[in-house]
Symmetry: D2
Subunit: 337 residues, 4 copies
C-alpha cells in the first residue's frame, strides 16, 4: 500500500501518518519529492482495516498495490485448478460445453434436450428452475418440480446437471439434486448467498455481474472459497455498456485477464452475452480461440415456444452444427471436444 | 406492441404472424410500406408471453410501446404517493433527511449519532447491521446485536430507523426492529428478496442497482408492490460509468425522470454516489433543487475511525452545517426541512 | 511516480530499473516489502517520456501520482479564473446564461431569438453555423452566412456571440465574427483543432467529450492553454452511459470535481445532457445549486420546426419562466442572474 | 417510422399528426388500441426532417424502423465489398495483417520494422506521423518527415502504407505518400475530416470511436461514402467501459454485427483494445475465429524505447510467433495468411 500525501503537507502531518501505521506493527518507507511525498507501507495491510488513513490530515490518496483476493489469486496458487462436476473435469484438456434450455418447462422438454445435446457433444446439462426475471409478470420457473425433471434427465443420459440458485431455500433444495450450482449475474454480489454456497462442497459456476469489474468478480469467488468451497468456475456472460446492438457486450479480454490473475477455470456464455442467435456461432469460436475452458449455451427443442430467452436459444440442429464447427478449433488449441 | 417485419418478407410469413397474434384474442393493424411492413398489436400483450414472435419467419424486431410495470407507473396512479415511516411522511411537503453511520459499530456510536443528527434536523436514523462488502475480509456488520442498538437509539430519540437487509433471514430478524427496510444496490435484482419484502407491509427504501436502468429499477419496485407492499421509496445512489474521479456517477436526471414515470417518492444518497466527502454538500443541494423528496447521508462521530466507508462519511459538525445550508433551498422549493 | 515491482522480482532487475531512472537525473526511493517492492521516483517525470519503464523486467505497473495538466491545474493557480467574453465576465459573481438555437436557420430566427433571450436575462447568444450531425443526410448548417446573421443579432442586442467551430477553415472564418468559440463534444480530442484555437486569444467554451474522463477533459484544456490561450471555459453536457431514458447522463459531480481540480469556470448544458425539454428545468436548478458558473440552453422560437435538436429546445416563454425560477436560486448561492 | 401517441391523446391531436405527415406526401396507418394509439408512417422519412413530430401535442415517442445509413448498409448492397490497398485485397480470401510502430520515430526504425513484419507475413505497413496524444506534452509525431520514411520503407519492401490523418492539412500532405488513410478513434465523428477524405479515392481505415455505437460508426462510414469514396474498411479497437483491467474493452461482437449489417470489411486492433502485450495473442486468435478480415498490430523493434504506446507493442520475435500461431486458424476459417 502506498500513501500519497498532498503537495503542501507539513512535516507534522507526515509524522502522524507514519506513527499511526507503525503503531500497528507495519513498516514505512518515506520518499520526499519536490512536488509530492509518498509513504510506502510494508506488511499486512489488513491491520489497518479499522483506520481510514485517507482521512488523516495531508493525505491525498491511497494506492493499493496488492489484490484483496488471496485464494482465487494465481500469485499464490500458480497451477491451474481443475474442478470436477460429476465425472466431468473442467479446466483440464477437455473443452466442456454445458447446454440446455434457459428455463425447464416440462419433463419432456428437458429430457429430449438432454439426449440431443449429449449426442452433439455437450458434457453437462443446464436448465433453470428458479428464474430471475426483470418483470414480476414473466414466467418464474418450476422450482423443485423442475429439479426433479433435471435429475430424471441425468438418470437417462448420465450428464451432470447445473442449476441456478437464488436464495438459501433454493440452495437447500437444489443441493439434493444438482451436480453444480450456478450463481447468476444479478446475484454475483449477493454475499449472503455466496457464503451459504461456500459452506457446501458442490461446485459453482459463478457468472460475472452485469457491471462487475474483474477484480470484484474474483472477490466474489473469494467469498465462496473463503468458506471452504474451492470448486469455483468463472463464467463471463457480457457486461453492460452503451452499445445496444447486442443485449450485453461480451468482454472477450476477460479470458486472458482471468488466466493471468487467477487459477480458476473460465467459461463463456455467448447466449446471454449477445441475446441473439445469429451471433452465437461467431462468439463461441472466438471464446475457444481466446483460451476459454468451456461454453454455456442455451438450447431449446423449439425456441419459438420457449418461455424464457427464446431469441437467444439454439434449436438442436444448429447446436449440433456448432459443435461440429468448434471441434477443429478445439483440436488446434490442444483440447478435446 | 409493434412487430417490425424484415424488408424482404413474403405475404405468407406476414399472415402467419397475424394468425398467431389473433389466435390469442388480440387485434392487429397492418401497415405495408415500400421498404418495411409493420404490424401493430392491440390488447393485453401478456397473452403472447409464451410465444417468441421475434423468432417467427420474417420478423425483424419487436418494439414494446408500453412499460411492463403497472403498480409503480404514474400513468395508472397519477397522484404522488406518500410513504409513512413511523410518524414521518415521505413524499409530502417535508424534505426528509435520513442520516447515520454506514455500519453500526457499537451502542455508544449509534446512540450518540442519533442524538446529533436529530438535533441537526434529520428525521430518520440509518445504520447498517448486515454489510455487503466487496471483500470477504472486510467488516461484515454486527447483525441482530446492531439492530438492538438501533432500537435503543430510537427509544432515546424517537427517530424511526432504517436498516439494509440482504437475505430472508435478515428480513425476519430486522422485521422485529426496523421501521423501514433498505434494499441495497447489489440486491436490487435479488428478486427472491424483493418478493419476501413485498409480503410484509414495512416500508422499503429501494436503492438503484449499480448498472440498473430506470426501467429495471421500476420493475424491481413492481416486484415488491405486486406482492402487496406499496410502501416503496426509490433511492438514486450513483451508477457505474467510466469516470473514476468519483466512486460512482450520480444520475441527477433520474429525479425528473422518476417524477415523470412514477408516483413513488425519490431519495438521493450523495455519500455513495461520490464516495468523497468534499462533494457531498454540492450534490445535496443539487438533489434538493432538482426535486428529490429527501437525502440519505452517512454521518459518523469520527469518520477516520469508521469501520466502513469512512471517506464518504460526514462528521457531525459538517452534517449540521449541511442541514443549515440546505434549509433555504428547501424553502425555495416549497418544502420544510 | 511510483514503480511497483512484481512479487518475485530479483535484485538485479530492481537495480536495472533504478539505474535507468537515475541515469535521467531523477532520484529514487526503494521500499522492500515481504510481498512487494516499490520504487518511488522523485523529480520531473517528463525526463522518462522516452523510456517505457513498465516494459523492463520485473516491473508490474506504474502508478502516476501527479496530473499531466499544469496550466489548467488548481494546484498551481489557486485563484479561480475569470474569462471575459465581450463585456461579460464568466467565473465571477454573475451567473451567466448562454442561450439560442441549436442551428442558425435564417436571419429572422436568430435576431428574434436574440431579443427574446436578452429580455429574459441571457447574457450571451449561442447559435450553430457548422453542425456536426450523426448522419450526413441531416441539415449541416449555414456556415459563414449564419455567422453574419449572428453578428447582426449582436449589433442589434449587444449580446456577445458564441459559435461552434469544427475545422481550421471554420476557425479562420468564425474568428472574424464571434466573441467565443465552442469546441463540441465530438471534437474535444481533435488535438489539431485545439492547438489552432490555442494560437488565437478568443475565449473558448470546451465541451466535455461523450466518453471523456475529467482528466482527459482537463488535458484537452491544457492543449489550448499551452499554445497561449488561457481563456477556457469548461462545459459539462452529459456523458454516455447505459441509461437510455435520457439522451446522455449529466455528470453533475463534475461541477464540484472541476472546482477542486481546476481554476477554470464550468458551465452545464442541460439541453444536450437530457435531450428532453421536460427535464431541463430540474437540471438547470441542480446545476446552479451545485456550483456551476453558468448554463448553456437551447431556445428556439418554434421548437416544432427546428432543423436540429427541436425536442430539447425551449420555446421563448418556457425559457423566460426558467430564468425567473432560477433567479432566487442564484441569489441563494450569492450570484446575480 | 412509427409514431407512438400518449395514452390519453384526443382525436384532434391524432388528426393533426396525420395531417402533417400526409401533407409531406407520406402515407399513414392508424392502429388504435385500448391503451395506446400508434401511427405507422410509410414512405421516405427524410421529407419530415424539418418537422419535429415528437413535439406535436399528444406524441409520446418516435420509433425509427430503418437505418439512416444507406451506402454502408448490407440491405442495399448484399455482396461483401473488397477494398484494394496497393495490390492488397481486403475483404477477400486473404487474412490481412497491418503492422508497424505506433509512431514513426526515425528512418532506421521504420525501415527495419517494414522488413521484419514483411518476413513474418504482414501485408501492409502502419506507422503514425501525426499522433493524437492525451497530453500536449507527449511526443506528437514527425509529420511529413515521417511520411517520407514510410514511403522509403514501401520502396524497399513493396508493402503498401497506412497512416493516420487528423486535419485537412495532414490529408493533403499524406495524400502524396500513403496508400490508405487511417481515421483514429478520436476523430471518428470529426465530420469535416470525414467529408474531406470522402472527396479523395484513397482507401480509409475507419476506427470506431471510444464510445461510438455501431450505428454511429456506420453513419461515419456513410459520411465518407456519400462524398464518393467507397473504399472504407472498419476497425474495431475497443470501447470505453467501467472495466480497468484492460485499456479498453474489445467489442468482439462487433464483428458478427457488422457482418450482418454492412458489406464493408472489418479489422480488429488488439493492441489498442487491450493496451497490454500479454493479451494480444489471445485476442488476435479470437478476432480471426470470430470472422474478422484482418488485424492491425503494433510492432516496434524495441518496445521499451518506443516513444508512444510501447507497453502494447510487440517486439519482432513475438510478432513472428503470433503470425505462425495464427496461420492454422486462418486456414480453418478458409483464409490465407
Amino acid at each position: 500500500m502506498i500513501i500519497v500525501m498532498k503537495s503542501n503537507t507539513n512535516e507534522s502531518d507526515i509524522k502522524d501518518v507514519i506513527s499511526l501505521v507503525e503503531s500497528r506493527g507495519l513498516q514505512t518507507h518515506l520518499s520526499t519529492g519536490s512536488q509530492i511525498t509518498i509513504i510506502g507501507v510494508i506488511g499486512d495491510k489488513s491491520r489497518l482495516s479499522d483506520c481510514n488513513i485517507e482521512l488523516l490530515n495531508g493525505v491525498d490518496k491511497i494506492v493499493p498495490v496488492t489484490e484483496s483476493y488471496k485464494l482465487a489469486n494465481k500469485k499464490f496458487h500458480t497451477n491451474s485448478s481443475i474442478v470436477k462436476v460429476g465425472n466431468v473435469e473442467i479446466g483440464g484438456s477437455d473443452f466442456i460445453i454445458m447446454a440446455g434450455p434457459c428455463a425447464i418447462e416440462n419433463k419432456k422438454q428437458i429430457i429430449e434436450t438432454a439426449h440431443t445435446i449429449k449426442k452433439s457433444g455437450a458434457k453437462i446439462l443446464r436448465g433453470g428452475a428458479y428464474k430471475p426475471r426483470t418483470s414480476p409478470y414473466s414466467f418464474q420457473g418450476l422450482e423443485e418440480e423442475g429439479l426433479k425433471y433435471m435429475a430424471k434427465a441425468r438418470e437417462e443420459t448420465g450428464l451432470p446437471i447445473v442449476c441456478e440458485v437464488t436464495s438459501l431455500k433454493s440452495v437447500e433444495t437444489a443441493a439434493k439434486y444438482v451436480d453444480m450450482f450456478q450463481i447468476g449475474a444479478r446475484n454475483m454480489q449477493n454475499f449472503y448467498l455466496l457464503k451459504e454456497i461456500g459452506k457446501t462442497n458442490i461446485p459453482v459456476l459463478l457468472k460475472r455481474g452485469l457491471s462487475a469489474t474483474i477484480d470484484e468478480w474474483l472477490n466474489a469467488a473469494e467469498y465462496i472459497m473463503s468458506e471452504g468451497n474451492k470448486n469455483v468456475v468463472l463464467c463471463e456472460r457480457g457486461i453492460r455498456t452503451f452499445e445496444t446492438a447486442t443485449r450485453n457486450t461480451l468482454d472477450i479480454s476477460a479470458i486472458p485477464v482471468i488466466k493471468q490473475k487467477s487459477h480458476l477455470p473460465i467459461f463463456v456464455d455467448p447466449s446471454h452475452a449477445t441475446g441473439k442467435r445469429p451471433y452465437i456461432n461467431s462468439l463461441s469460436k472466438a471464446s475457444l480461440a481466446a483460451g476459454a475452458d468451456g461454453l454455456m449455451i442455451e438450447v431449446h427443442p423449439n425456441p419459438a415456444e420457449a418461455l424464457s430467452d427464446g431469441p437467444q436459444s439454439l434449436p438442436p440442429k444448429d447446436f449440433d452444427d456448432l459443435c461440429d464447427e468448434l471441434r477443429p478449433f478445439a483440436k488446434l488449441v490442444g483440447k478435446t471436444l
